[in-house]
């Protein structure tokens, strides 16, 4: 299998400080990788760099290749063509990721129309609406027809994240980047949204880069993990290797903390 995402010696810095140092990893087509780390580990910056979304004051060097396109140093205009078709992102906080002034149906309609144009399909209202409704059903939003006319503030956090996922999937990306997609959600909602993501990634054959600080969540959804600490890779391997027999002292500490929490419940 060829690699869909290749990150080589990625470094990210502000004027004063190096935030990410020589990070390298690759993600084959159809694979799932987790980026694990605590706050300040550089996991979200890495995701932003991979989509060319870093703020102007932060510069990246090294190489990020998605498909055949080099991301680092490529102007936004050129990147816009690959956003959606090659890569889509689901962010942590669905309330800030959605436009508060736009109805749900219109928000999901945007990427749908874009894909239809890309694929040379008609973009008439009827066709777009039908696709939006079908996406809403796929992400299990209740009463899709009513939901079309709702605004983000009128629906729950879990429903908003479903909308964000529908928008990402609407693009039919080859790579889905999910940056702490369930961290802002209640635990019962988290379980549902994880199950949903898992199914969609499988059904559409997407590759998944899943970023989270929550180890059990990561373990439940990816095959390989990369552990970051203060901007550097400290360990890489299959999920099983890293969770069962971490070799780096820092990952050992992380796993131990996660297992401590697990044991709190097991001891009951």
């Amino acid at each position: 299998m060829s690699d869909l995402l290749t990150v080589v010696d990625l470094s990210i810095r502000t004027a004063e400080k190096e935030l990410v140092k020589n990070v390298s990893f690759s993600l084959p087509e159809g694979a799932r990788m987790g980026l694990i780390g605590e706050s300040g580990s550089g996991k979200s910056l890495t995701a932003l760099a991979a989509t060319g979304l870093l703020p102007p004051a932060i510069t990246a060097s090294g190489s990020v290749i998605i498909g055949a396109q080099e991301i680092i140093g490529t102007p936004d205009q050129a990147l816009n063509r690959m956003r959606g078709s090659d890569v889509a992102v689901v962010f942590q906080e669905p309330l800030t990721a959605l436009d508060p002034l736009m109805k749900i149906g219109d928000q999901i309609g945007w990427p749908v129309r874009r894909r239809f144009r890309r694929e040379g399909q008609t973009t008439n209202r009827e066709a777009v609406r039908n696709e939006v409704l079908s996406l809403m059903e796929q992400v299990r939003l209740p009463e899709p027809k009513l939901m079309l006319n709702r605004y983000p503030h009128e629906i729950s956090g879990g429903q908003r994240q479903r909308v964000a996922i529908a928008m990402a999937v609407a693009c039919r990306p080859k790579l889905l980047i999910a940056d702490e997609p369930t961290t802002a959600l209640d635990v019962t909602t988290q379980a549902e949204v994880l199950k949903l993501l898992d199914g969609l990634v499988r059904d559409y054959g997407m590759s998944l880069l899943f970023i989270s600080h929550d180890l059990p969540v990561v373990a439940s959804i990816v095959d390989d993990v990369t552990v970051l600490r203060l901007g550097e890779v400290v360990e890489q391997g299959t999920t099983r290797q890293v969770f069962e027999a971490p070799s780096n002292p820092y990952s050992q500490g992380l796993m131990e903390a996660a297992r401590t929490f697990d044991s709190y419940l097991q001891d009951i």
């Binding site: 019962t188 959804i221 903390a257």
Partner: protein, 260 residues
């Protein structure tokens, strides 16, 4: 005797929309009680009532046998002396312009506890395992976990009868959470603690008793062990089932995702 008792407490922010619906539970002196619920369950509203920032629409809250009455200033002054909160986000709960010394001694000053001010602050700092020289620094010099320790020192400095902890580990990294939970274990052994959290694992680690809230109603309550080992209510069960666990890998099949 029960230190704190809620009896059929109801509360509405807007008319007709009950956020709390006949909530009753009690906290016995010296015990640690976990109040668990998801967003919208009413946990924060209960804390608001317990901090005397609002009063129940109906029902009563009793502290040491006396009903809480926001209008009674003398009573409330005594109550505030006896009850101290610790909040979720240590980045916004500490005044960035004050040194740790004045942050921790703030309850002593505002409650008029003048004697042995300096030695009390020193003891509180030691109790949360912060070095003595922390006292002359600003919050910005500390990490999230250390800031939460400062907030905890501020809560215990006046030796309150009851500590109200509101999601105190939720904003912290996992390894820091483990250490702060350990600290709360020590603190819980010396005082009474109402520990509000959405995280059942943390509550299981810390609390003798548990109260499960769903949309403003207590659905289940009892000893943590018996409720979590043998949950009676479907909501408690779904909360437990939803907790992400580290998968058990076995030799033959490696596909952990099948159990999602």
């Amino acid at each position: 005797m029960n230190l704190l008792e809620l009896n059929k407490v109801c509360f509405s922010y807007t008319r007709g929309n009950k956020v709390l619906n006949e909530v009753s539970f009690s906290v016995a002196s010296g015990r640690t009680v976990g109040l668990v619920g998801e967003s919208g369950s009413g946990k924060s509203t209960i804390l608001k009532l317990l901090m005397g920032l609002a009063k129940p629409s109906s029902g009563a809250i009793q502290f040491e046998g006396a009903p809480l009455d926001i209008g009674n200033r003398i009573l409330m002054k005594g109550y505030r002396r006896a009850v101290q909160p610790v909040f979720q986000d240590p980045y916004s709960s500490l005044d960035p312009r004050q040194k740790v010394r004045s942050i921790i001694s703030e309850p002593l000053n505002s409650l008029g506890i003048a004697d042995q001010n300096a030695s009390r602050v020193k003891r509180a700092l030691a109790a949360v395992d912060l070095p003595e020289d922390a006292i002359d620094r600003y919050p910005s010099a500390f990490s999230g976990g250390q800031r939460q320790r400062i907030a905890i020192a501020r809560a215990i400095v006046s030796e309150p009868r009851l500590i109200l902890a509101d999601e105190v580990v939720s904003a912290l990294d996992l390894s820091t959470q483990v250490r702060i939970v350990e600290l709360f274990r020590e603190i819980a052994s010396q005082t009474t603690l109402l520990f509000v959290s959405h995280d059942l694992a943390v509550v299981a680690a810390l609390c003798d008793e548990i109260v499960i809230l769903e949309r403003g109603t207590v659905v289940e309550a009892g000893s943590t062990r018996s409720v979590l080992a043998n949950p009676q209510h479907t909501y408690t069960r779904s909360l437990l089932d939803s907790i992400p666990r580290i998968p058990e890998w076995d030799q033959t099949h490696d596909n952990v995702r099948s159990d999602l």
